[in-house]
Structure formats: structure tokens, C-alpha cells
Symmetry: C2
Subunit: 236 residues, 2 copies
């Protein structure tokens, strides 16, 4: 099933932008009268009939709206330090979308080798991953911020977890999630060189719970994806 | 910490092959007297002193052997249909090594688009993933076989799980693992077009338990990695 995206919904009509129109009409050769499925990126899938099969601006009529299409029963924010090699971070973000994530927040730590992160490429990737995995919502990508800014602004009504490698008493992420009643959760994952002790101290002061991710030494992107899987599995 | 690999262990001495010797001596400039860490690929890490810093055949003396280095408390066989795009299967195998897997068995299903799979590239990748994630054991890569051959030869003393998308009563993989006492487990993951009904019937007859992987529509490689994470998390 091919899914299209549009945020241009007006009453009972949906307009596709030029890229989506070209894909729909030129590549997939859809014609007026065809049924097409369009997501709005915010959670709703619209079953539509194509009215104008223009390769520049296709227009479709909404027949049915399915809210919460492919949704998951939690709200997960993953705040992750982008890896030196951008591919690895993109891979994480794509796979996290497939499994189920709501916000991806690239954060820059004291020890991050990568101090700058551009979000345009990843936004495109996540749109395509959401379509591919039949989800009406495309995860939000936050603007890059420092770990400290993220800690200071993390919502009070979330379960807040920070995974790091220093010694210290910690629950496993599975145990921390077992004790949780569900709802909103955010997980903070550090850079290749881990968080600085000052960042960890800040996080704990702000109510983050320290967790570990088991005995294996996981790379940043694998630690992040394992965290997404842990949240997903709580509801499995 | 840089880890080397050698299966050439003789009494108290370890010889590195040409590739590892060149990396150790030419690239990392190790000299006689340096401490080097060498895994045997079967689970043991040897802390050694370099005796002959030859870039063709370096020789080291074993000072200490650490068996079960970076090991995990289960034995997991992942039988997975290689994806059309080989990168995706390699990605899975690499990440599974990082998290913890023992055998990767590429299997070809009735509906596999990829009917042939060459294992040489993946063996090299897994050696490098094991070193990187500080594990003494490199996962075994089985020779490709059909799904039916794998089903027929799956060990009787394993928990055997098959994940597929057809309707039918199934536990989630988490629930199936909760009811399990630990030890050996194997998980069978189908190709992009799923297993054929005949393959599923064969598997159930052979004692495989059907499981689902939650509500998200996961690609083959993501389904496989989520399964590895589920087993890993049982022991977390």
C-alpha cells in the first residue's frame, strides 16, 4: 500500500505538494477516480478519491478519516546526542519511527564530538519511514539544543530517564519502566564519550532517574534503539 | 581499547594472522613489550604481552585468560530471511552482535525474493562488531538453508519461536519469553512477503510457538533486532 503525505487539508479536500503529486501521478500513474491513502503527519490517515490527477498539484476528496492510525499507547521523547557518523543517528531515527517514537530531540553534550546537527535530512527520512511503516504521525524532530537545555525544559509530567555508563546505583531500563504507570516518558542518551559528571548531576537534580541498559557495551545509536524497544515492549 | 583476534593459540603463545599483525604493528605501531588484548572468537579474551612485533606474523605471550568475556546469560539463534537489500541484513547482524546473539542463520523462505546469500562479508563484519563491543565470542554464521531445513533441524532443547503476520492466536514475544525458564532460544523471522502458510504449519508441527512483535509493522531486520532486544531485556 502506497501512502502519500499532505498537511494541506481544507474541508473535505486534500492537496498534494509538487513532490507528492509527481510521485502519485507520474511515477505510480494514479488517475482521477483512484483511491489513495494520505496521512496528515499528525496521526490521521485519510482514505481519499483522487479528483485532479495533476503531477504538480493533485487534489483528492476525503472519503474517510482514521485518527490515531498506526499509533502507539505511549508518548516517547528520545533525546539523543547525534553520533560523529551521521548515518548512525539517521539509522536510529528511522528504526525508532518504525517501532514507535513521538519526538526525536538531538542534544549536544559537553563531550559530544559533533557540536552541530542539521535536521533537514532527518525530517525527510522520518516522513518516508512513517509512510513505510503505516503510521499517520511523523515523529517531531526538535531543534538541536544542549543536554543542559533539554534537562531544564523536560516536562514535569514525564517519566524522565538518563542512561549513562558511570558507576552508581541504577535500575535497568526494564525495571524503571515496569514501575511506571505509562503515559509520557523521555530517555536521554549521551554521546560516544558519555555525559560529563556535571550533566549527570544536573539531570538527577531535575528528577531524571539513572538507568542502565544491561551488560553489553552498546553504541549510542544501539543504546537509543534498545530504549525505544524497551518502551514499546512494555505495551506489547 | 583496541582488540585483536586470533584463533592460533598454542600453549602460552598467540600468533596474529597477517591482517591483524599489520593492523597491530603498522597501523597502531605496537612494539615488543606492549600489552595487547586478543580474543579467540569463542568467548575468551587473552591479555598478552607482544613478543615479536612483526607486521606479517606478530606473536604475543598470554598473561591472563578471561573466559566468557562480554558474554550474555542465554544462547540465542536468530534464523532470519536475508532482505532484498543486503545492507539491511548486515545492519541487523551487526547490531545483534552488539546486543548479544550466538548464531545467525540466514534462511530462505518460499516467498524470499533473495534466494542466495553469501556469508563471507557478514563474517568479517561480525568479527569487527564483536571486537568493537568488547565480546570474546564472535557469533557463528550458519550456512544458508531453507526455512524448512532450519525448522527440521532446530534443537529440541530450545524455546522455538516463529514471528509472522497472519491472523491467529499468538502471544507477544515478551509474554512468550516471560513464561520461559531461560537457556537456549531460537527465533525465526520471515522474508518481506512473510512465511508461506505451509512453512508456518511445518513450524507449528515442529513445536515452534507463534508470537507477534506488537502493533507496529516492522521490516524484517527491525523485527529481528526487536526480538534480540526482547531476549536481552529478559535478563536486564
Amino acid at each position: 500500500m502506497e501512502i502519500f503525505f499532505s498537511s494541506d487539508v481544507d474541508g473535505g479536500l486534500v492537496r498534494l505538494n509538487q513532490e507528492e503529486s509527481a510521485h502519485c501521478v507520474r511515477v505510480l500513474r494514479h488517475r482521477a477516480g483512484d483511491e489513495v491513502c494520505i496521512i496528515d503527519g499528525c496521526g490521521t490517515m485519510m482514505r481519499c478519491t483522487l479528483l485532479e490527477a495533476s503531477p504538480y498539484e493533485a487534489v483528492a476528496r476525503i472519503e474517510e478519516k482514521i485518527p490515531g492510525w498506526g499509533s502507539h499507547p505511549y508518548h516517547l521523547t528520545m533525546a539523543v546526542c547525534p553520533t560523529k557518523n551521521a548515518d548512525r543517528f539517521e539509522w536510529f531515527a528511522e528504526k525508532a519511527t518504525e517501532i514507535g517514537v513521538d519526538v526525536i530531540a538531538p542534544v549536544i553534550g559537553d563531550r559530544s564530538e559533533r557540536k552541530v546537527y542539521k535536521t533537514d535530512r532527518i525530517r525527510r527520512l522520518l516522513l518516508s519511514a512513517a509512510k513505510q511503516s503505516l503510521k499517520g504521525a511523523v515523529p517531531e524532530v526538535a531543534e538541536p539544543q544542549s543536554v543542559r537545555e533539554f534537562i531544564a525544559s523536560a516536562p514535569a509530567d514525564s517519566l524522565k530517564l538518563i542512561a549513562y555508563c558511570f558507576e552508581g546505583e541504577k535500575l535497568s531500563i526494564r525495571e524503571a519502566l515496569e514501575a511506571w504507570n505509562g503515559g509520557r516518558v523521555c530517555v536521554l542518551i549521551g554521546p560516544e564519550g558519555d555525559f560529563s559528571p556535571a550533566e549527570v548531576a544536573d539531570a538527577l537534580k531535575a528528577g531524571f532517574k539513572p538507568v542502565h541498559l544491561g551488560a553489553s557495551r552498546l553504541r549510542t545509536e544501539t543504546a537509543a534503539l534498545t530504549s525505544v524497544a524497551a518502551v514499546y515492549m512494555k505495551y506489547m
